[in-house]
Amino acid sequence: MSARPAINGQWMTRRRMLGVAGGAAAALPLAACGSGAPEAESGGGGGGGTFLAYWNNAHEYEAYKDVVAQFEKDHGVTVELQKFQWEDLRTKLVSDFQSGNVPDVVEEPGSWVQEFALSKDALSLQKYLDKDGAKIGFPDDWLEVAVSDNTHEGQVYGIQMHYTCTLLFYNRKMLDDAGIEPPATWDDFLDAARGLTSGDVNGTVLNDGLSYSYPWMLQNGVHEYDADSGELLQPRAAAMEAMQFQRDLVHEHKVSPKPTTSLDVTRAAKFFAAERTAMILTGPWDIPIIKQSNPDLDYGIAPALTGKRQSTIAGGTTLFIPAQAKRPDLSWDFIKRITALKTETAATEESSMLMPRKSWAKEPAVQENPDVKPFTEGLPYAEEFRTGIYTTGKAGELEDIYKTLYESMLIEGAGAEEAFAAYDDAAKNILKG
């Protein structure tokens, strides 16, 4: 039995102890700087200094800047929004957890909260919700899935900030010129892509991020993990069919260029804005890119495709507080302000981003926004592809081998039998470890 001291129920490594000691030492001058500043609402927070928030680099909206300014004024702190791409944010965050020197609040891409709750790196928000939940409309005003995706063993660990899905964007003029209606099924999509491919114009461009493959899986009834059986990518035949369909769009029908291994998930949007493709599958996050690149582009947004059923991936970002955060009360106040209905509506007006509150969907600013309306209609049938994967404790490794599966088929053109056999071998090693 280890004799090491425990914090928040977890054993401290030597590095973590040093980190905590270093963090405590670093906190002393900060606390001194903040003397005289108002305390946070619940006490134990506030107190000046820098309030550090890790943020996605594309989400620094004016609406949030206004909230930040008021927060700074009320608490006498300086808010530092450190911006990252998701991959880099993950690296930074995991390093922080190891050292014990963590930020006050984190925006994450929608699948980490439960993983970090399992590893005891995220703070349970239950005590705050028990006190403030009714006042902020939680959970009743949030879409059910936005609550369940942030819940671990009955406790809520994160508050959903954005909640979106991917739909079909199409170039209205290209489709009209070709006499093609926006496709509704996989067969329609293939026919349309064939009819729209000519010269250096592709019927479609499959996006680089592997998460863009998830809607095809969901439309074929596949989830990454079945918690009851402990099996991956089931039903297997449907999973193979969905991946093969995407592979064939590239290699067999040649209606899409190969995806690349780039981190640039805006590549498809760039093709679309340059009118080098007629159809892409993406979410509202690409709308600013498209509008900035080609303000005159006449595009439409159609409902998600139907394979065996109609579905699309539900996604979005969540705010959570690291378990080792030094001023959790202050962090909670920040989360409440950022996820307030007024803030959500202002952010949508500015960026067309979608939000998880039910009351948000009824706001005139949302109802009257032509870019937002199709997504509000898509959200009810949107689903999580990776449901329950965090319970394996191997979410990161399993995503890596899914990436290998995806790239081996879509980029290298491997057949489904071969690629899935390699996936199963790797999965077996990971799950037994």
Binding site: S2, Q10, R14, V94, T260, T261, G393, G396, E397, T404
Partner: protein, 299 residues
């Protein structure tokens, strides 16, 4: 001359002891720095490599090490890295030496040529990676646009030959530096050898093979040792240019370790792989130094 055998410890004079103490005082800051920033992290990695994966809170003995030898992904990463290191080392020697010999001809404009070749080495791998990533994009990259305008078939370097592509980018970045090293070596070879060889009727190739190459052995050894070490430790190329893909085709070892640590949070196993890589690098370096010592030519 043989030194006399030391039979018993000789007593040092008070002055010598005082000087030794003074020396230790001056060395102390450096020793403390080394202890904190070099030896402690190595000791900590060794310790972590003996702990279990994600929580690193249980002793795992040598399990992480034995698992590494049964892990096909680790084997693949090692193979890819070995290919990369061998290719970049051979390329560094051939290109560096070749360009140095050319530049050593004292042609007009050689200074500008040297500077142009050195600039990529002074640029960070992040910038180089992003630049080549954009240049090589199969659809949006400028290189395929040029090929297309010339009526030549376009290529998918990153998709079809990812390792060869990152080798080429690495050589583009580092050749200027190795060229400068070889140039310094060349300029240290006395002209008298070449003049004597000319008198004996040796042609340019014979002079290169019989004089230049042997007398550049110390430089070649240094370049090869450094290239193998940096090749085995390469990370940025896989992280920025290919993300280790497609699939696992360009999964360099350090990138694989990085993914294990920061995506999978398997710190114990990632640490064990790091230690194994350290041992491989030490082994390669010792072998190279041994070979270099056997072939060294004095002049």
């Amino acid at each position: 001359m043989e030194l006399p055998k030391r039979t018993k410890r000789t007593k040092r004079s008070p002055i010598a002891r005082r000087q030794a103490r003074t020396a230790y005082v001056f060395l102390a800051p450096a020793l403390v720095f080394f202890a904190i920033f070099f030896y402690y992290p190595i000791a900590d990695i060794l310790n972590t490599s003996m702990l279990t994966g994600q929580r690193t809170d249980e002793f795992a003995g040598f399990d992480n090490y034995t698992n590494a030898f049964e892990d096909p992904q680790a084997r693949n990463a090692f193979t890819v890295t070995l290919q990369f290191a061998v290719a970049t080392t051979v390329g560094a020697i051939v290109l560096g030496m070749g360009l140095a010999v050319l530049i050593n001809q004292k042609l007009r404009g050689s200074l500008a040529f040297k500077l142009a070749l050195l600039v990529p080495y002074l640029t960070s791998i992040a910038v180089v990676g992003l630049m080549w990533r954009n240049i090589l994009d199969p659809e949006l990259g400028i290189l395929n646009r040029i090929l297309s305008d010339l009526g030549l078939p376009t290529q998918e370097w990153l998709n079809t030959h990812p390792v060869a592509t990152i080798v080429a980018v690495t050589l583009w970045m580092t050749t200027g530096y190795t060229m400068i090293l070889f140039l310094a070596g060349l300029q240290g070879i006395p002209d008298v050898y070449y003049e004597a060889a000319k008198v004996d009727g040796a042609n340019g190739w014979q002079r290169f093979r019989r004089i230049t190459v042997p007398l550049l052995t110390p430089t070649t050894l240094f370049v090869s040792v450094m290239a193998v070490i940096t090749g085995l430790q390469a990370f940025g190329q896989a992280y920025i240019i290919t993300r280790g893909g497609p699939g696992e085709a360009s999964d360099l070892f350090v990138f694989h370790v990085f993914e294990l640590a920061f995506r999978a949070r398997n710190f114990g196993y990632a640490s064990a792989l790091s230690v194994l890589l350290l041992l491989v690098i030490v082994a390669f370096t010792l072998v190279q130094l041994r070979i270099g010592r056997d072939r060294e030519v004095q002049h």
